[in-house]
Symmetry: C2
């Protein structure tokens, strides 16, 4: 199953749509078998890539910036930091939302910005925003372009403001306050490596870690894989600096205050609609990987696993940092694709009543001080055991951690096979969790040849997230509409059964239509009022992000 190197040329749609380091991923042997069985594919389907996007990128929409405007921008940032070529504009026209990847494969770039501009400093950002506000030029703040919600499109054209080229420095590691101050365009690995050298960790490891920035984390309110212990990004933010059309807002690094409501929180989740984040101060954590303890468990049912998880979170003996449950369908895939089927261990598990299609894996890792990590893990083991979970060693967790960012790479080869695959996620109280889980499965099961895996990966005292990964063969020739309809039905199902629109992906434009119904008109009107004040000319990521006008 090795064909040809599709990555030769850098000016193709494929170059833009590929996740991450551009290495070509392929569907593994066991996974390929599973897909063939589930969706009735044959070896033939594996021979040629479907809609590979190998054509050279060309845009229909010309850049509409006037020579005078480009001149101003060049004067501010240097002409080498203003890009208006088709490839650059296409690259900054989207994130990694399935609908966008499909567009690229279909040679469709509906919403390119007019230019990509890379300011060299906070002050240059201030000048650009001031100018664009006067000229009514849209600004889309740009980080790692890993958004999966259509938040980065430029339906009004304008400028993609790239913060990663220059505004990517660590300004201060403060070991007294245990905080770091960074520029917003810094990528995860650059931050983490420097923190590690000082004995710290950022504690925030989203699936997109390798290709996302601090500014993006905050703007979309992301969550890392260890968020159960370290919190979501909004829990880590201590202070930030944002440039808005109404001026610079800079908050301070007090641990907590009671001086009105927190201003910085308006920018956590604003998705670029209020201004451009240029700096942030974050909590950091001790980097002591050798202290980490971990354990995997297997439960006979999803309900039992969830009940044990809830008990852990409500017992007040400390919390795990990584805490996951794969539901029966995800557990089944994990077993099958790891070559577990039919092994002796497999047979023993079945004999013990851990039946495939019912049984669930739970992964736990506790970090922090050495004795603490051991203490909490021991407690969790006891709770899991009391909840009828069986400890199956720490190996599976260590193995999972070793490939923790890999699943993001899997979408491209699946789409190459003509398989529609996307993820959705929700936050839900314990009370509603089983209902949302069941309803989502019921919904997906109604589509012939569709498959849904669900896991829990961010856990709280009062509830958790549910993370949905669905796969189904594309409806060839009607890929986009088919996806939109199927996606809409799944979101409806989640929301109607008591889930939130999003737990950590954000809203963007893909989920914007649900906002008013979900939050209520008065809340949306309030959000709109905040935007109107900070961005009276609606230049900040305009065109529907967050359901705002």
């Amino acid at each position: 199953m090795n064909y040809f190197n599709t990555m030769e040329r850098e000016n193709t749609y494929r170059h833009i749509l590929k996740w991450g380091d551009k290495r070509e991923e392929e569907v593994g042997y066991h996974m390929a078998d599973l897909i063939k069985a589930k969706f009735g594919l044959t070896d033939n389907d594996f021979r040629e890539k479907y809609l590979p996007g190998l054509e050279t990128v060309t845009l229909e929409k010309p850049s509409l910036l006037k020579p005078r405007q480009l001149e101003f921008l060049s004067d501010v940032c240097g002409s080498e930091n203003i890009l208006t070529d088709d490839l650059s504009r296409a690259r900054y026209s989207c994130g990694k939302f399935y609908g966008e990847l499909l567009d690229l494969r279909l040679k469709h770039v509906p919403d390119p910005p007019d230019a990509v501009v890379s300011p060299r400093s906070h002050d240059e950002v201030v000048k650009i925003i001031g100018f664009c506000n006067e000229e009514k030029i849209a600004i889309i703040p740009a980080g790692g372009q890993s958004s999966v919600t259509g938040a980065l499109r430029a339906p009004h054209g304008g400028i993609a403001l790239d913060l990663t080229k220059y505004l990517n420095r660590i300004l201060k590691i403060n070991s007294v306050n245990k905080t770091v101050t960074v520029e917003a365009g810094i990528f995860g690995p650059a931050l983490e490596e420097e923190l590690n050298r000082h004995g710290y960790s950022c504690g925030h490891f989203p699936q997109s870690f390798e290709y996302s920035t601090v500014g993006g984390w905050i703007s979309a309110r992301g969550a890392g894989q260890a968020s159960t212990g370290y919190g979501k990004i909004e829990d880590m933010v201590v202070a930030l600096k944002a440039v808005t059309p109404a001026g610079v807002i800079e908050t301070r690094d007090f641990p907590r205050t009671a001086q009105g409501w927190d201003i910085f929180r308006l920018f956590a989740g604003a998705e670029g609609t209020l201004g451009v984040l240029t700096e942030a101060t974050l909590h950091i954590f001790n980097h002591a990987p050798l202290n980490t303890t971990s354990a995997a468990f297997i439960f006979r049912s999803f309900g039992q696993a969830v009940e044990a998880m809830r008990t852990v979170m409500q017992s007040e003996y400390g919390k795990p940092h990584l805490f996951r449950i794969s539901d029966p369908s995800e557990t089944d895939v994990a077993f099958t694709t790891s070559g577990f089927d039919g092994t002796l261990a497999d047979k023993v598990l079945q004999m013990l009543g851990f039946r495939r299609g019912n049984c669930c894996l739970m992964f736990v890792a506790v970090e922090g001080e050495k004795a603490y990590a051991r203490f909490v893990l021991k407690k969790i083991k006891k709770t899991a055991r009391a909840g009828k979970g069986m400890f199956i060693g720490s190996g599976p967790v260590r193995k999972w951690l070793a490939q923790r960012y890999s699943s993001a790479y899997m979408r491209d080869p699946l789409m190459d096979l003509g398989i529609m695959t996307d993820t959705l996620e929700t936050a839900v109280t314990w009370e509603n969790l089983m209902q949302v889980w069941q309803a989502a499965h019921d919904y997906v099961n109604r589509r012939p040849k569709a498959f849904l895996m669900i896991h829990i990966s961010h856990v709280y005292e009062n509830g958790a997230n549910l993370y949905f990964t669905f796969l189904s063969p594309m409806e060839r020739g009607n890929e986009q509409q088919d996806f939109i309809q199927f996606h809409r039905g799944l979101v409806d199902t989640i929301v109607e059964n008591g889930g939130s629109i999003s737990h950590h992906h954000g809203v963007g434009r893909a989920l914007a239509p649900w906002m008013e119904g979900h939050l209520g008109k008065n809340s949306i009107d309030l959000m709109q009022a905040v935007k109107r004040h900070l961005d009276p000319n609606n230049i900040m990521n305009p065109g529907g992000t967050l359901g705002l006008k």
Copy 2:
């Protein structure tokens, strides 16, 4: 030192100004000695109360509500729930800010509302706000009236909206989600007692606990004595319901989301300027008092104690729930007033280098699961020892907990002695903490016969609060101006040296003048825009609260 029962009549200024349960408190024997020594008072000063406020309350300002308006209110709430008598209006004209208590003693009620109205339901609140918005009648939401920032005055008259009479029920204890939903007017003890019966605790125990409400806790962004473990009230809020002139805002109880910024957070710290909170859902905690472990330590200097405290908070082995340091001056008073001076233990401590004027007490209590509480306490003991602290048993902490709400009762007898006494508090990063602490002492020391005690009582990874209690004889005949000037200088000192305006008292009108300089004009303008949207006619707690127009 027993004179006469000043509490006979209920219609006096004294009846309004007295803290709490109206029992007469007196300055204890050791404290009296200390005060005599510090401020040069004699037994003579103890014979008669200064400005006791025993006169009958009479207001100069008549109620300005029109008969038509009163009629509407009566129709909505029932006439028995509309009070316009002088005593009621005076009672709801202020909180427990020192300047207000002084006013009452001086028979001065500058800002009474026109009426006190007690709605019987959320729907009645909606009707009242709608009517008042049309009629441009000010509304001041009223809970336990324990504000110490002048947040409850009614400079524009209008209605004090009392939520405690009817809107005081527990709506649901949700043991699956581990949350409670209450009406905003419920007092601390009523909430805690009912939760205890179900095996839970609210975890929020401010000094004002006995006489403050959930709505007030959230509106002023309060912190309880165990906030280091349980968080501030804004960390406990899961969802809330607020009535604003622009409509009802109701948020949902998802554990976390990424659907724009959190709307509910705008009401945490809004101090009634945006609307009236009618309901809130809060996290609750396991009630297991027998699990609590505690320890007291003594350190040779404030700096050493702070350093040990910081190490505890940054070690990632779990956190204490109660965590306090009394600075050398507060420690000195604690020793003296408890009759410790000259005891054998006192001599031993001095011999060991714990010198009075330098040495500091640290109090720790850890709650939660039994083994967890023991584990964390053991770790803290080790850290304290390594930081040169000496463990002095758990008795002092247990003793402190037994009288945890008593210091609020002490202000009245001190003012009866003609002593000006008020508290201020700030949040500060570890980096700036010693500087703020030193500067505050230097400032107070410049006033002859003034005395400042400072403690830390709410602790975070990146910093802590500082809590200031100052005492000095009133400048008789010029009490109010003298206080205002002295207070202003202390706030200036705190802010100039890197402290926040407030950590948990809130801003009210007393600290409003610092808001714009402290937060920056752009942040205040943003807050003002939020207010303008929700309260276009400026009826919600108008007249300067939070520095808003």
